[in-house]
């Protein structure tokens, strides 16, 4: 397999312009002759559908939820970055580009990230024009906050629900195209397979989640915007329906999967409270601006926090990282919390939590000021835990949050299967080994509003498109495969529920391919996967039939894919023997126990190619070339 990144030549700052100038355009009258399938209606999918519809293409948009307004992008709280420099604090496109590359620990492409920073400003203009009610200053201009440890204020936000407001903007733009007849919606539809004909992605097979009908759709190109795979860990901050199914099936049809082991673990989530727990809730990391993280110094200290005197408290982040303190990047904060809990210093019923204490801030600024800043987060915390963070410290613990890995794409956002484009969190994206806060929303919208609409025309103009209908044998084959699989799931009739298997898989990954990884653990987990998979296909129980709405069947299908996918994830973690960003290999650390990158050996994207059932996938490497910036070790001391 050839990994051709297709980055345009020329200076970094001119690549995107040059690309747009040199690319072949499609005559407006001809655009309506092209059909495009968009799978996913989160930020990336909805913005792409809207824009493609505006340009005149015929778009079919699919999503799992009952309405496209509910894609998981809606849950993003913090904000979206842009290099507007409205605050005159020294920001620029170049600085946003540099921060993003550095934040990703130098494991992303320069050209892609620079383009992202360039487009970031247009995104804000677009969203404001759509009526997204961003926060404003008293003078009526847009407000910004600094987020995720950035030294400039470049994050635009709408209270604690930026993702919701951005998604509703993209959704409404898409609904306008629905009204105009350019976008056809298929909600409550799950993509089950990708159809590749003559080496080109030409359609998909879906399951209608209400009637159970297996349906096929042909098109001239397929766009996947199906979000991240964090739910492989069972517990994560992702929505319940988030899955790897769409990208995994595409992988099995030939699309390479890049950097699957890059998973971001967010430090400030509400801790697990029992085995029945179904998901984890993120508390915005802005809390770390005023909250102090601590654990008792004594092992196994079970006293209530108020009874632990000051000298017996270990403010470990402040001690270890005096200059950044509680504001160290996500991966560092997460790893240190785990370390404390591993030393049995964790707090709460489970011992898997640390305190985030606002007492000092309240003393300093007053309760009213703190409530005004974090009121809605405190309410959310209280709703879930029944405790008031003003009276006792919050308890927090890291949780799986975002997946930097995803299907490999080139500069055009096209995967290794021609005609298959991948956007948003589903691609391996521009975040390298670690994503900075407020940059996923930016990337999803950049991909959907601006990049794909420009690059897809070059695909149409450069490749020979033969007319194809769903009666093509490739569709029949994909439908049969899908039906066979569903039949198999339904006929096992064992004794364990899909969730039960999912929990087992999640725990295995969390323990051995989570915040810190080592060769022995990864090998152990890898060794346990075949047995888990066998048990799944032997002992699974799915009630009901495939012929109507069956949520157990839906879940079983997704769990089956997570189990298969886990293998690639662990292989990737094994093969990358350096630590970088969120990927912490215990074997590769500095004397001070910080992550140690090995740029000579691992400055590449790892792309995995499917080799057939039961075969180990093949690893391809796309070297990362840095011509414009100097690589440096991250240090937060």
């Amino acid at each position: 397999m050839q990994l051709d990144h297709r980055i345009p030549s020329g200076p970094l700052t001119e690549k995107w312009d040059r690309f747009r100038f040199e690319t072949n355009l499609i005559n407006p009258a001809n655009k309506r002759k092209f059909e495009i399938i968009v799978v996913g209606a989160g930020l990336a999918g909805a913005s792409a559908s809207a824009t493609l519809g505006e340009l005149g293409y015929n778009v079919k948009t699919f999503c799992i939820q009952d309405s496209p307004r509910r894609g998981h992008s809606i849950a993003a709280q913090g904000g979206i970055n842009a290099a507007k420099n409205y605050q005159n604090d020294g920001d620029s496109i170049w600085r946003l580009f540099y921060d993003t590359i550095k934040g990703g620990d130098f494991r992303a492409r320069e050209a892609n990230v620079y383009r992202l920073a360039q487009i970031s400003n247009q995104i804000i203009d677009q969203c404001v024009a759509q009526g997204v009610p961003f926060a404003r200053e008293y003078g009526g201009l847009l407000a910004n906050r600094s987020f995720g440890g950035a030294q400039v204020s470049r994050t635009f936000y709408a209270r604690g629900q930026t993702g919701q407001q951005l998604l509703l903007g993209a959704y409404s733009a898409m609904m306008r195209q629905v009204k105009a007849g350019k976008v056809t919606l298929h909600p409550r539809s799950e993509m089950m397979d990708l159809v590749v004909i003559n080496g080109q992605a030409r359609g998909i097979v879906t399951r209608n989640l209400i009637t159970g009908a297996i349906e096929s759709h042909a098109a001239d190109a397929v766009v996947l915007a199906t979000g991240g795979y964090g739910n492989a860990y069972y517990l994560s901050t992702n929505a319940m329906a988030s899955n790897v199914t769409a990208t995994w099936r595409a992988y099995k049809r030939g699309a390479a999967f890049a950097n699957p082991c890059f998973v971001q673990i967010h430090p400030t989530c509400i801790p697990v409270h029992g085995t029945y727990q179904s998901k984890l809730t993120l508390m915005s990391e802005s809390l770390r601006n005023d909250g102090r993280v601590w654990v008792p110094t004594r092992i196994g200290d079970k006293r209530p926090p108020a009874e632990i005197p000051e000298p017996e408290r270990d403010y470990y982040l402040e001690q270890k990282y005096p200059s950044f303190g509680n504001l160290v990047p996500r991966d560092v904060a997460s790893r240190n919390a785990k370390e404390k809990c591993d030393q049995s210093k964790g707090v709460g019923d489970t011992g898997l939590a640390v305190y985030l204490d606002f007492a000092d801030a309240i003393n300093r600024l007053g309760e009213a000021a703190i409530r005004q800043k974090y009121g809605n987060l405190f309410d959310m915390y209280e709703k879930i835990t029944g405790q008031d963070p003003v009276k006792e410290p919050m308890t927090i613990y890291p949780a799986v949050h975002y997946t930097m890995g995803g299907l490999w794409v080139d500069y055009h956002l096209m995967s290794t299967v021609p005609g298959l484009f991948v956007l948003g969190e589903a691609n391996f994206s521009d975040h390298g080994a670690n994503r900075l806060g407020a940059s996923a929303l930016m990337q999803g919208l950049a991909d959907g509003y601006f990049v794909l609409p420009a690059t897809i025309s070059s695909h149409f103009s450069e490749s020979a498109m033969v007319p194809i209908t769903t009666s093509h044998p490739a569709f029949t084959e994909a439908i049969d495969t899908t039906k066979g699989r569903i039949q198999r799931l339904l006929s096992i009739n064992g004794k364990r529920t899909p969730d039960d298997f999912h929990r087992e898989l999640g725990l295995l990954l969390w323990d051995h391919c989570g915040m810190a990884r080592n060769e022995a653990g990864l090998k152990l987990a890898l060794g346990r996967l075949p047995e888990l998979k066998e048990n799944f296909w032997y002992d699974l129980k799915v009630t009901g039939s495939g012929a109507d709405l069956n949520q157990t069947l839906e879940r079983a299908g997704r769990v089956a894919d997570f189990i298969e996918f886990a293998e690639v994830m662990i292989l990737d973690a094994l093969s990358r023997q350096e630590s970088c960003g969120c990927h912490f290999r215990e074997e590769s650390q500095t004397a001070e126990h910080e992550a140690k990158r090995m740029d000579d050996t691992y400055s590449h994207v790892s792309a995995w190619q499917y080799q057939g059932e039961g075969q180990t996938p093949q690893l391809h490497k796309e070297p990362l070339v840095f011509e414009n910036i100097q690589l440096s070790q991250r240090s937060y001391k």
Partner: protein, 252 residues
């Protein structure tokens, strides 16, 4: 952690055309730290192992923002806690021995799909009639070109917080969608960007709302009480104003 036991009377219906009925289940031991949906998960796990079909219910984000969840608990959509979606409702608000009657949202415009799941695509249909600003991607002015007073932006956001869950329709004795439509109309009417299409939008969205078979607002305020996002009925008044302005004063 406290353990409670509940009796659950849940509406079971296999499909839109079939006849449904209540079935009674014992919840088994429930810890009060569970969320309402986790309580249903626990019940469903047991049903699956017994070979029975689990209770179908809609949910996704489980953090109160996607608007996918929602059933009527003892007569109240999203249950007894104010400004709380069903997924954010926790079992500590119930007592040992309580009986909970769990019903789907009911209205002619929301057809029942299965058990507690209803079809809310009518909301999407209303938005498609004008719940947007007609700008194409690109060619938009700089984001700071038009200053917007903070209080207006805040009010617009108050309205835009609607998660489209449909609880307002479920709670309204007349199954009216005025709170949902009022929220969207208000969001855009308050912002300068929404002005060019203001009249057209109000007329078109109300027309669609009426066609879809929602009832008429009786100003009874049940919607506001049930709304998990605290959307105020002042948005309904604004819709009434906007519609009046569009109907009698505009040339649309």
């Amino acid at each position: 952690m406290t353990i409670i036991h509940l009796t659950l009377k849940i509406w079971r219906q296999t499909g839109p055309e079939s006849k449904g009925s209540f079935k009674t289940y014992e919840s088994g031991p429930i810890t009060t730290a569970m969320s309402f949906l986790e309580m249903l998960d626990v019940l469903n796990e047991r049903l699956i192992l017994n070979g029975e079909e689990p209770v179908a219910f809609d949910h996704d984000c489980r953090e109160g923002i996607c608007g996918m969840c929602g059933s009527v608990i003892n007569g109240t959509p999203h249950g007894p806690e104010k400004k709380t979606t069903l997924c954010q409702l926790h079992m500590r608000h119930f007592k040992d021995g309580d009986t909970l009657v769990i019903e789907p949202f009911r209205s002619r415009a929301f057809k029942l799909v299965k058990d507690l799941i209803v079809d809310r695509s009518a909301f999407d249909a209303i938005i498609a009639e004008g719940g947007y600003v007609s700008v194409n991607t690109g060619g938009t002015p700089d984001a700071n070109a038009i200053p917007i007073p903070t209080f207006m932006a805040e009010q617009a956001l108050d309205a835009a917080e609607c998660i489209g869950c449909g609880a307002c329709v479920a709670a309204c004795p007349n199954a009216s969608a005025m709170l949902f439509v009022g929220a969207k109309i208000s969001h855009l009417a308050l912002l300068p960007q929404g002005q060019p299409e203001r009249s057209k939008r109000a007329l078109a969205m109300v027309k669609k709302m009426d066609e879809l078979g929602f009832g008429n607002c009786g100003n009874e305020k049940y919607c506001e009480k049930s709304c998990p996002k605290g959307i105020s009925i002042s948005n309904i008044a604004r819709l009434n104003r906007e519609f009046m302005r569009a109907a009698f004063c505009s040339e649309e």
